[in-house]
Structure formats: C-alpha cells, structure tokens
Symmetry: C2
Subunit: 562 residues, 2 copies
C-alpha cells in the first residue's frame, strides 16, 4: 500500500485530557479518532490490526467447535432488560421499543429454544463477533472503557455439569491460545476454578497494564494470579518454643488504630489481634485477624456460607460489650457471640487484644489458652510479599485490564429460566448455560498498552498492520526511486504486506511517522542506493543494520520466521 | 463440522406471510431467523456464506486501493440528518442524541477534513463494511428490504473530475468483478454514464429476479440494461411513399382514451398523436407522442434542461384552448404555446389529433404540413419489443433488486459543502466526492433468489457454506461408520470444508435437509460401503453417480477445479 493512498493522520501534538499513554499513542500514530465520549472510529491501521486479531479468534473458536451467528443489534427484548441503566434505548416510527445489543444470553436462548429440544443436540456452542453498546457514565482509558465496542460473545448449552465443565475448559484453553498467539502478557484468574468450588464466579482473563481498574495479586515466579477474594492466604508457620507470658490488662488511653496501640505498647502490629463484630445472617460473630491484616468480606461470606454479612453497628457493639468497638476482644466474650479467626491469628504468641472495656487492652494474650476460637479460616486479604498459594514465588500486585470472562451459569435471565430440552428419560430439563465473553476492542487497547515506547507503537510481527515500512529518502532521485519500486514489487511478490512511504515529505517527518506507526521492520532507501545498500531498522530493539539488496528477501525471511 | 454440533434448524412448514420464495427457502433451510419486522438473525450457514462474500469484496476493494475504516454506529451528527424520517434515534442517559448509522458521507468527510488538506493527498478512498439501519415503514422480501443490514459504503475524495471519473470506473469494474466471482446474474445500469451526461445520476447494479421493486429494460441479446428514464428509445424508420391525404375534421363524441378514438375511427393507436399540455419552468408547452407511447417526465425534464415539469391543470388547459384536455392538438395552436414532440411523432403519416374543440378530431394530419414542431426529442418510455439502444437485440422488461450504486456527487450534505483542500495554486477548493454503496445483506438475498429450486437452496461452489455434505445412512453400522469417519478425516486433510451429518435421524430426513441446505456435493455412505462405494449427488443438476472410495479425492478435485 502506498502511504499517499491510505489515511494515516499522525499527530505531533498530544490531545488534552487523555488518561492513558497507550491511548494517546493510538491517537498520535493515526490508528483511531474520537467521535464522541467513549465512541471511536477505527482508521485503516487499527482496522488491519483488528482483522488480524479477529482471524486468530475465529480460528480458535473453530477448533473448539463454536459456530458463528450474527444476531441483530436492534433487540426487541424490552422485558428482560428492565433495570439495566447502561442500555441504549431506541424507538422506531411505529412506537416499538428496542435496546442496542449489550449482553444477549436471552436472545441466543430464545433463538435455539424449540429447535434444540433434545439431549442429543447438546452441547451446542454459538458465538458472535459484533458491536456491543454500553451507556456507561464515565468512559475511560480510550478503548478500555468505551461505549461502543467490538466483542465476541459465546453461549454454550449443556445437558449436564460434566459437559459444561468440559466446554468451559475448552474456552479457557482457547482464550489462552488466542492471547499467547497475539503475544499478550496476561494472567488467568482461575483460583476458584481449580478448587472446583466456584462455578458461579467468573473465570477472568486480565492483561497486566499500567492502567485499568482491576487490582490483581500475582506470583512473581509462576502463572498464579487472582482477585483478592479468591487469592488464598497461606497459614503462617507456627513459632515454636516461645515462652508464654501471663496475660495483663493495660490502659491504652484514646487509642483507636492498630498503629497507635502498637507504638504505645512497643510491639509489632503482627502481635495485635483485631476483633471486628459482624452480623452474619442475623447472628453476632466476632471475627479476628492480625493487626497487619485486613478481613476480606467476600471470603468471610463464602467461608461462612452466608447470605448476608454486615459490620455490626456502633449500637449493636455497645449493647453487647459496653465498650467502644476499638476496645473489644475475644477474651471473656458475652454469651452467644461466636468467634471465627483468620488462620494467622492461631500463631500469635503473647499478643495484644481489646479488653472489652473502653481504653483497655490485654497484653500477653495467647489463643486457646486465653480465648476459644470456633473455627480458623482463610479470611484475610493476601498481601504483597506473602508466599504465592501455588507454592511458587511471592505475591505482588498489579493493575490489569479485564479482557474476558468465562462463566458457568444457569438462569441468568427470564428467558433462560424456562428454556430447556428433553433429557434421556424424556423429561423436561433446564439448559445448563456457559457464557464466554471477550472484548476485542479492549484487547486492542491492552495490546497497545503492552507494545509502545516513547516514540510510538511497536507491534510484534504477528499483529503489526504491515510487515515492512519502506521509506524513500529522496523520491526525486532516480536511483533511489527505482530501487524502492523494485523492492516494493519484489517483496509484494513474496507476500509481504508493505507500507510504502512515497510521500513528498522530509526524511525526519517520515522517520518520526514510522516510529509512531510501529511496523517491525523499517527499510530505508537513501544515498547508499547507488551501492545497492538499504538501511534496516528494527522497531522493537532500535537496532539498525545495512543490507545488500540481493540479501533482503533471505534476511527478511529469517527475521519473520524467527 | 459435525452436523450434531452446529445449528441448522430446518423447517418443513412454510411460515405464513412470506412474500418471496427465496426468503422462505432461507428460513426453511435454517440460514436465517426473523427477530422483529425487517430484522433478522444470521445463523451459522448464512454467516459462512456471508464471510465468503465479504472476503471477495475485501479483495476487490484492496485492488482498487480502497482502505478500510470502521466508523461508530452511534453517530452524533444530529444537525445534518434533520428531515430523514428513516433514521433510528437514540438518546443516552445524559440526554445526548444520536442516530444509528445510515449514510455517512458527512462522518467520513468530517473524519478526513483537516488531515487531508492538500491535493497531494488526493485521491483517497475510504470504505467500511458495517451494519446500517433504516427505519423503513414496510420491510419486504426478507433481506431485500430490511431495517438492519450489512452494507459496504465507500467514499472517494478527489481534486478534479478526471480523478473522480477514473475512480468511479474502478468501482464499476470492482463491483462487476465481485458479482461475476460470486456467480450472480446482474445488470449494470450505466446508460447515462456512457454518454458522459449523467454524472449526477447514480450508476446502479441490479440483480435480475422474480421479486424486487425495480423494473428494468434490458436487451435480450446484449448486456444493455437501463431504468426507463435512461433507456433511449430509437427513432422510427420513415415510412416513405405513402400518399398524404387531406386533413378533415370529424366528430368523436364523448371519446376520452386513445383506445376509444382508435376503435371509433378504425385506425391503429400508432396513428394517433397524443397532445399533453405541460407547464415547464412556468412556460406552457404542448408535448406530443404517439398513441401507443407514454411520455417519460424524467426524460422530458432532462431534455428540456428544466427545473420544474408539471402537467397543466384542467383550468390552464381550458383557459388556453376552450376545449377539454382530451380534444386538444397541435394544429392551429394558441399563440405562445411551444411544441415539442417525441421523435416517433415525426414518422406518423395521415394521423389523428385533437382539433382544439371538445369532441372533435382532425384526421389525415401530417406533421410539418399541418403543424410545426419546435423540436423532436426522445421523450417516451422504451417498450418491450423496441430495438435495444446498443443496436443488439430487443428490449424486454424484468424485475430487479438494486444491490449497489456509484454516484459522482458533490455537496450532498452540510458537512461536505464546506470541506476541501489546497489545490496546486494554493487556493481552497471543495472536494469532489464519489460515493459507492453495496448492500451485502441484499446481495445474499439476490444470490438466494437466483440459486434455489423447489427442494431448497443450490449454491454455486464458490458460495456454498460447505464443499461437501457427508451423510451416513446408518451410523450404527460399523462399516458405514468407519468409512464415513475415514472420508471425513481424509477430505479435511485435503482442505475441504465438510458438513458431516452424524445425527441419529432417518435417511429421508437427512436427504431432505441436504437438499434444503444446498451444498454442491452430497456424499452418501450406505449399504454399498462394504464394497467401498459412495453415492454422490450433485445438487445443481440432481445427477447421482457412484464413486469408489479410492477415486473420491481425484474426482472431487476435478469437480471443484472445473
């Protein structure tokens, strides 16, 4: 493609109010343009990258026997969508109401209902790759949180759990392969899946990034990654052979935080036992954790197998304890208050806890000797520096962009509750439904986030909009022009996709644009054309070399096959 | 693909109120489903055919250096769209207004404005393939007149007419190639183009069909085709050596139609000269044509180079002639009335015309001898049986589906009026814009219309959703099962795309479905499997043959390469 005939409007000026550098790069390098808040146009370069991504996705979908359909964007399903404020509403001239396609489990279920009516026709996996619309209030980070995006959404229908699990695993494998093929650095959040407990919680794929709203705990030495509520904190090692001291009550005047108490008593926060009173499904429970730890309420809820978990009100605390919430503790608890503790509490020796008397603490407290615990559980947030739950490496935290999720669900919506088939016994049975989503626009944003530097984009070779950026320094020079034309035609015959900068622009303009655009190989035909020499610059490493024109095809081949 | 894993919900029952057989076939054969009035879901088979069409289109677009972009579907361009009732309106939660993408010359012009600012950057051709929305009142013929459709829309921007013409010719060529590659029977309506006069009238591509709202005149012996307003009627041959009779006035009591007058006077309608009074740009003009012909007002307007053409009111006629409109004629016209005649009037000998006196006609009237004509022009509709304007064959009429159009236009919209570039003299100049549209959903409908019979679809090999439909008669039979599996894997390794009917259904169900689906080659593994014999049925011809398993790949290859 001659650069003069395509549309690559690079910019030198950074537009104001851009909240992500990768987004700014895509704008500056002429990949995208903003149309309205959270709504973008994909220019020719982005469109080429998108097609490469789409092709990889379609290939991997085919491998797992997912078949492609195309639902309408205008969806006449008003009933099921009530209450979702993020839908765009449309009416036609005849007063009928529609919403713009968002999630469409309902539509897909309605589509197969009646035609798929026997266990013999299951499992079946349908997907579509299409624009999705979300009227979110605060679009952010460009394509990361946009309002019109390209997504791929698959729904699988099953007769039994085994089939559902199997297909979900196929999707996990397919998504992993897609990301790997694209060269994306990602983490799979499947801590809950491995344990076989969390089928109602989505498996997620996260691209590690400097932007994004998701905070992820990951191992520095393995592929382990999880959200806080799923990242299992390992038990502490028992500290043996420390002499247990006698418990003593001390005054700690007007101390409210762990920090204050620790400093006042000259102890580490690890020795302090925090006590929080919760109302769990209506029952009062004292929940203990170490002073340097935080209770994760989602874990607490799951571990207690509870429906409702609420922090007790000031009134509830004072009614039970006649003490301020900061001064309560597990020693000599009021009758009827259950005690659960994070497992790290079990290894505290000669610790500190509230004395159930405002401004007083017990010191030299020891679990089991001085108070009973109904049960020890993993209740706390994992922390940076903790050992990774998979036994490999240490936990770190990073931001991430959530690209996709796989969810074993049933009855997400009105339509799917009543949808089903005849099972082997000839009885009606509800479908088990897996839903599998991937946000392709976000994926482009995440890739951009991982492949840029201060000069612009630097795409890996399988993703780049072109294979080669061919630049003529002086198009008026007959030798340079001829060598460029020869190379262009030669390399095209070898099926390379070439962006040929034939514009009448200064060399520095061409070079700056080339760096912005980020094609892996820049091929410059300049003064040395008369000696048959071409200058090569590899965008990724910045390395420059000179190639003789006769060796170009061979050396390119070894670069592209590496 | 195993048929048990995909979704092909064939139907035996014809849904009610379907107005096109091809549409019914697509429904029955499990290609599409109706979601709402004029809104459809594309099922896996249709999606596969669509991808084949899309690929052909993209390849041909690339050849003419059109580059692909993707505009948003949500378009915040309220101002320019005022007055178009067929747009779907959308508002978001913050009260901003959008329309769903329909035509987007404005958006594309706005996109390049500022970035394309010099003649050096022209021409540039941008296209997109995306859903388009039209809130039409009466959707018809399934995908032919739908409300949500896939279209490809290209806009080309030019510095001069020469470039505009050139690119429009490239598009004519590209569209023609696309249709030819897809095997579509189509006609190009470019009568106006050839003559170089009609740059403001679209060049159209029409698929001949039994449905569709467009009536087309075409030659039975050449590629000639045109809409009535552009189909040139050839001059009649002069009838020599007929004795001119003397003019006579006769009474024709209460006769209003050509038919009545002709029967009463025992003459052919070809001898009757009809006179119609028009107000053309405010001037009264008597327009003459033969009794068997019809004036085409679009031609009249164009030939007179007029802005306004209106049939005169009864009052206007009576004021000028003191006679009923049916009795007016060109002999002894009131002063100031201009006379134009269709060229066929010139060869009427001893004809009949109104006598400008209610219920009286002149007979034996001869042009030039009895009345003057200011000018003879092509003013009438061409008729079936007329010679084709290109000199080859006779004119016939057919219905057609309008698939695409190419238009040389400038300033279609507010945005494009003010958009422009710096020309070679450094002055601001308005873009010349070509717009080039192709309706891909309609194209699928037109192809379906041309490729079905009473049993179902019968796709040409380059379009079919699969290459081979492999059917096992009895999957329980070990020999049949094994041969089927062997064939499936063998042919896949040869890159054939196979639909493998592995369902536990009766043979007649499988065969009926196969005919409906319409894959070119049906391969049946039945009782003769033990002899290594496979039954082949070619969908297009209905021919059945037997192949030995060893010769399958070779014979298939010769079928697919034919």
């Amino acid at each position: 493609m001659k650069q003069s005939r395509t549309f690559i409007p690079t910019m030198r000026q950074t537009p104001a109010d851009i909240d992500a550098t990768s987004h700014q790069m895509l704008l500056n390098a002429g990949y995208i343009r903003t149309n309205a808040s959270g709504i973008y146009t994909f220019l020719p370069l982005a469109q080429k990258v998108m097609h490469k991504i789409e092709n990889v996705i379609r290939e991997e979908m085919e491998k797992i026997e997912a078949v492609e359909i195309m639902l309408p964007i205008l969806q006449q399903w008003g009933e099921s969508f009530i209450g979702d404020a993020n839908l765009f509403n449309v009416s036609d001239q005849q007063g009928r109401h529609y919403v713009l396609r968002s999630m469409d489990e309902d539509s897909v279920t309605a589509l197969i209902q009646g035609d798929v009516d026997s266990y013999k026709q299951l499992p079946i996996i349908l997907y579509q790759m299409q624009k999705q619309f979300r009227d979110i209030q605060r679009p952010k980070y460009g394509l990361v949180h946009s309002r019109e995006m390209l997504t791929i959404d698959a729904y699988s229908f099953h007769a039994d759990k085994k089939s559902l699990h199997e297909v979900c695993e196929h999707f996990i494998q397919a998504y992993s392969t897609i990301f790997t093929r694209l060269g994306l650095h990602y983490r799979l959040l499947n801590a809950q899946w491995k344990k076989g407990e969390g089928t109602d919680s989505p498996i997620e794929f996260i691209a590690m990034s400097s932007i994004g709203d998701d905070m992820i705990a990951y191992s520095d030495s393995s592929s382990y990654a999880a959200r806080l509520e799923w990242a299992e904190a390992m038990p502490m090692e028992q500290q043996n052979e420390i002499r247990l001291k006698d418990m003593e009550k001390v005054e700690t005047p007007a101390m409210h935080t762990v920090q204050e108490v620790a400093e006042y008593l000259h102890v580490q926060p690890t020795l302090i036992i925090k006590t929080l009173l919760y109302a769990i499904d209506g029952e009062m429970v004292a929940v203990l954790c170490r002073g340097d730890h935080e209770i994760n309420e989602a874990k607490l809820k799951r571990q207690m197998n509870a429906q409702q978990v609420n922090v007790a009100s000031l009134e509830e605390v004072q009614n039970l304890f006649s003490a301020d919430p900061g001064s309560i503790g597990p020693v000599k608890l009021p009758v009827g208050v259950k005690v659960v503790a994070d497992q790290a509490v079990g290894s505290v020796v000669n610790g500190v806890c509230g004395a159930n008397e405002t401004d007083y603490r017990w010191i030299h407290v020891n679990p089991e000797r001085d108070f009973a615990v109904d049960s020890y559980m993993d209740l706390r947030n994992i922390q940076a520096g903790d050992p990774s739950p998979d036994g490999m490496g240490m936990i770190r935290f990073a931001k991430g962009i959530r690209l996709g999720q796989i969810l074993e669900s049933t009855a997400q919506s009105k339509a799917s509750v009543t949808a089903g088939f005849q099972n082997t016994e000839g009885e009606f049975q509800q479908f088990l439904i897996g839903s599998h989503h991937l946000n392709v626009s976000k994926l482009l944003a995440a890739l951009a986030e991982q492949f840029y530097d201060e000069d612009g984009m630097k795409w890996p070779r399988q993703l780049a909009p072109f294979d080669i950026h061919l630049i003529t320094i002086n198009g008026e020079d007959e030798i340079q022009h001829q060598l460029s034309e020869d190379l262009y035609h030669l390399l095209r015959s070898y099926r390379y996709d070439i962006l040929y900068d034939d514009r009448q622009e200064r060399p520095d303009v061409k070079f700056t644009d080339a760096d912005l655009i980020g094609i892996p190989v820049r091929m410059t035909v300049g003064k040395k054309a008369s000696e048959g020499i071409i200058e090569i610059k590899f965008r990724e490493t910045g390395e420059t070399v000179e190639w003789q024109k006769e060796e170009v095809t061979e050396k390119l081949q070894s670069f592209y096959n590496a």
